[in-house]
Symmetry: C2
Subunit: 253 residues, 2 copies
Amino acid sequence: MKILVTNDDSIHAKGIRTLIKIAREFGEVTVVAPDSPRSGTGHGITIATPLRLKKLHEEDNYREYMSNGLPVDCVKLGQKLLFDGSQPDLVLSGINHGSNASTNVIYSGTMAAVIEACIEGMPAIGFSLLDHAPDADFSQAEDFIRDIIKTMIENPLPKGTCLNVNIPKIKKEEILGVRVCKQANAFWNEIYVERRDPFGIEYFWLDGEFVGEDADPESDMWALNNHYISVVPVHFDLTDYKQLNPIKHLLGK
Amino acid sequence: MKILVTNDDSIHAKGIRTLIKIAREFGEVTVVAPDSPRSGTGHGITIATPLRLKKLHEEDNYREYMSNGLPVDCVKLGQKLLFDGSQPDLVLSGINHGSNASTNVIYSGTMAAVIEACIEGMPAIGFSLLDHAPDADFSQAEDFIRDIIKTMIENPLPKGTCLNVNIPKIKKEEILGVRVCKQANAFWNEIYVERRDPFGIEYFWLDGEFVGEDADPESDMWALNNHYISVVPVHFDLTDYKQLNPIKHLLGK
């Protein structure tokens, strides 16, 4: 089994090391990850500037590359340049330092890599731990991640569906299990910090907190708040089907 | 009515001038647009570097700003800094130079601005013309855009739904009308052009063509290929609801 691993926190992040370790139990692993953090870069792709791909390490059944690109670029570069015209059998992204639950999935580079793989027809799973710390403890998540990967290899998802897995920041023995959920309807409450640079020109820097108040027990926020690992099946069809007929009524056909 | 206008092709693009002209017929207009092209930046936000916001022009019921940020940043900066704690009544994005139909919506900065406004609870519409040329002729689209904006002001969409409007590159009299559609299942066929820089180091540059072959007459690609303007209602819930139960069966709860 050929597995492509990427993330958005960069090749230097702690989280990707845990995911690489687990991935190597399942087959040949190729890592293509950004050379520096790309959090919050969403589904951006690099089209106006050249991309670089540098091999850092190679050994039996393992290759590691870094790129100056975004997470979606890493998936594309890996797929198109490193698999001899075939495709990886599985794409894994993460483990992200911080939540990609609820609407965070929209901004997430980690999940953009997963969605890109899904658009290209590859099975793909993104993993995130609800701990932003660079030295976060990912060991508690290992067994759950291994089980989810194993289950999804044995029971492949239909093309067009990928998974967004989030893991609460609690001890392993406190985790009550896995819940399959929908994306919670919760949001960031943000402000811009206003400062002046040494030249007296004002600048703005985004700050905020996530107000995760979706009380629906079917939502990923509820699962995480109640000591479950959340698994959301994600697709890339943004059509709001419920509104098709009302808008047809308004706009003609 | 207070309207925020943005795009991803930059404040210097021709397409945004047509949209500004139409928007000013409906109320007070504030423009916040990127200082250079940001095509393909998806739902990226700027979190690791400071943002700038520079006023370029002001007159009665009109203000124009440019920012070093991404399209989503432009919506956030405009909303949070320029509306005295209230919200714009409407956010318009575009007119994009090039298609945002089908899966292009995932990569589009133009539509990311619309989706961001939607997440923040504001009515929002994105407009795109299927012509990449910097000097594309947007005049053919004006009446249709005006009508769509008017209809959506008179009949507001529910919160959580926004619109992705694409206009074919044909003469006005050849346009057969507006069709409300779903996002087509069509894709880019891409390659990396490989070159070497003046120092002999290889680099890669994305190139490709869109293979828009979704034959479903309910899809936006079909509408555009058949001389209709496509209108897709878009939401930001990526949950693949059809897969919830099958995956619950696999992963436990």
